[in-house]
Amino acid sequence: MSTASIEIKTVAELANAPAEYREAAEKLVRSHAINELYGAQVFDEPAVQFAPTPYWKWLTCRVAMEEYGHHQRFYRLGQKMGIPDDHMIPGRTEKRPLSIFEFEMKSWAEFCVIKLLADMAEIIQVEDLMECTFVPLRVEAAKTMPEEKFHAGFGVKACTELCKTEAGRIEVQSAIDALFPGMPAFFGKSNSKNNATFRKWGLKQRTNEAMREDYIERARGIVAKLGLKLPAAA
């Protein structure tokens, strides 16, 4: 559907873009600013207490910092775009964080599975942004990607470690069973009007459905490598 020949190279150029483009770009930046911060607050920071040794606690602490740093990147871009600060902070805006953050994390295994599966979902979203017609957003996405890949790799490594014992394998499978059914919703509704607008202007490249299908395939593959299975999606 994307037929956009438009490319907005700077935030200053955004002022001359069509109103629909500006609003769509703001929605994307707001969403990333809110969800990167909220994810760090509800998953990464609390996970430090569950980590098995100081090594993993410090690594988790660093991951939390990096997620916070991602929020800062999108937040600063939003500020340059004129988005009010409160519109980019969870709890201060009426915009709710993604539903996946309602998952009540209770263990180290659950956190490792969040990194394994939720950060992979984030990677798919960021991959799409890396072809975005709004260049400042594309640039921030590109800066974010190496750390997102590290975080997902952290999930793979930590889950692999846990799966070396039968008890750990059961715990990881249980965490996958609990988390995964909520994951497809991460990509938004099918036939989404917002997504249609994003694609119209080349801010996104793929439909929510296409990204969701891609995600489920990648998730199935990574979970299979652990010798585990995905449950049915919700």
Binding site: Q49, T53, R62
Partner: protein, 173 residues
């Protein structure tokens, strides 16, 4: 003493002057031995990044880590007695902002000199420094600079990495 935001601001300003990880693996100086004696009955020097990883991943260090985590909760409660939660978050977040790049780049630089290119291990080091600096600033702002967290943060800033306390021994890289 009431929470003093100016002390935290001073810690934020000092992050750029720290010698983060520059002394790891080197023998202790006399001054360092004095500083370490205040933190534990016995200090053991760790000589390599590989050994540092093993010590940091030793579950016997958990009781001391958990005791420190409990102390953080107590310090935060004291800070919140006279400061609004949003304000405390704002003041303390400045430490995270300032340290985000500094600690990891310093760890990468020092590790690279030892031919270590392990992105995970340098992130662990950066996380440890960030945590220590956060705790040190919080403790100094609530209790003053003699708190053990403030002393630990000074060790980090001087170029060391206090890794773990197991029983009466503090392992320091």
């Amino acid at each position: 003493m009431p929470f003093d935001a100016a002390i935290v601001a001073a810690h934020v300003a000092a992050i750029g002057d720290g010698r983060w990880f520059e002394l790891v693996g080197l023998p202790f100086s006399d001054d360092e031995r004095v500083a370490l004696a205040a933190l534990a009955p016995r200090a053991v020097r760790i000589g390599s990044w590989e050994e540092a990883r093993r010590v940091a991943d030793d579950a016997r260090a958990n009781p001391a880590y958990d005791a420190d985590a409990g102390e953080v909760v107590a310090l935060k409660a004291r800070a919140l007695a006279g400061t609004a939660p949003d304000e405390l978050l704002r003041v303390m977040s400045a430490l995270v902002d300032r340290g985000l790049e500094v600690f990891h780049q310093a760890a990468q630089r020092t590790a690279a000199r030892a031919r270590i290119t392990d992105e995970e291990l340098t992130r662990v080091a950066a996380g440890a420094a960030a945590e220590a600096v956060y705790r040190g600033a919080l403790a100094a702002a609530v209790e003053g600079g003699s708190h053990r967290f403030a002393a630990t943060a000074r060790l980090f800033a001087s170029g060391r990495w206090p890794l773990a306390r197991i029983d009466d021994t503090l392992f320091v890289f």
